[in-house]
Symmetry: C2
Subunit: 229 residues, 2 copies
């Protein structure tokens, strides 16, 4: 496969005669390392990320599965400082509200957590799902319409892994008022906010999630989450 | 990092002092191949998948990000032939309903598509989100409660990639009645069906999605889905 094939997921189906890849044990081990060392990053260096790198990540995200191949993901690069500030303010309000739900030691722990890196991350990327897209013609989402949103989530997940492969960190901020984000970014009202991502080079790498390190929530044994029927 | 470290995502934070991996250009290229050759598989060989392989995939899925580290994913291996048949019947009903929405040439095309591989796939795995989990203590989902479901979607996405790494195919069936699946599998009513997965060795590999090959929906240029604000 040539590099240009790789760069053209919409290449003609002649490419379908290519030999499928086989992933050897070296790749298999590194892939598990990738999953282990992904992380929700909240501490970023401020060095810029080249535009072609971000566009490359978006391109890889668009290789995600989507219901009926509807590709409902929409990406908004948030560059304007005033818009960034409005979204930062939305975080502050939502975070203060959330803090009010906790009491005692738990509230103190919550207040001590760093939950976003919006002040440092050089890139902020909002990801939406277009709830009214005609692409895919509704296939696969009559009984489970939420599949549209799940497809955009899949794209976020691929972007996240693709970033980590390149040493770039991603943090997903969900402590936000979605309506405020939509209005601030002047996107169509039928778009749904899926994710607000901070992206940049991480200050540090960790194999253990921050919320485990800080004592908020431990890992659960996968076997305890699996049933047979 | 030893193999046993790798197998223990809940290992003590001493492992956090390990050297983070660097992914070289060979891995970077293979990773893009992985994204390009993932596929929603509907044509499976019937050879069994070893239990340790499925359990390994579930373990890798559990390395997904989750809001507040709440790990809401729940996996149900569907083994019982009667339960499988009840879910297969649910697909038939939902698919017939969906077909009724299309007309003319589009209806003929829809009817010709193979949309699931439940009759051949040796493994059927239902994935749910536990809407009432106390893990994570609500962190990160006060203003966006849907983040809980999105976390389970992320786990499905990792399982899918991890399977493809091992040459195992995954097909996500969403043409189902979620209530029927819940009742058939006798899971708690506060679990939400996220995905019903057919898993097995694929009969064939493709770099072009089936719905593109069949003329249902083409790829969209990522640049057309990206805005700046």
């Amino acid at each position: 496969m040539t590099q240009s094939d790789r760069d053209a997921p919409d290449a003609p189906s002649a490419t379908d005669t290519l030999t499928p890849p086989v992933f050897d044990r070296t790749f298999q081990k590194q892939f598990i390392d990738l999953l282990l060392w992904r992380r929700d990053v909240r501490r970023f260096r401020t060095d810029p990320i080249p535009k072609e790198d971000i566009d490359g990540l978006i391109k890889e995200a668009c290789l995600a599965p989507s219901v009926g191949n509807c590709q409902p993901w929409r990406f908004v690069k948030v560059n304007d400082p005033d818009r960034r500030k409005a979204i930062r303010d939305s975080f502050e309000r939502a975070n203060q509200q959330a803090l009010n739900d906790y009491h005692g030691e738990r509230a103190r722990l919550y207040a001590s957590l760093k939950l976003q890196g919006m002040d440092q991350a050089p890139i902020q990327l909002a990801v939406f799902a277009d709830e009214e897209t005609e692409a895919g013609m509704g296939l696969g989402r009559k009984t489970m319409p939420e599949m549209l949103d799940y497809s955009a989530v899949a794209a976020v997940q691929l972007l996240w892994l693709a970033a980590r492969v390149k040493g770039i960190g991603v943090g997903w901020v969900s402590i936000l008022e979605p309506e405020t984000v939509l209005k601030t970014l002047e996107v169509p009202s039928h778009w749904r906010l899926i994710a607000y991502l901070c992206i940049g080079y991480p200050e540090e790498d960790h194999v253990v999630p921050e919320l485990v390190r800080e004592g908020w929530q431990d890992r659960i044994d996968p076997a305890a989450l699996t049933l047979e029927r």
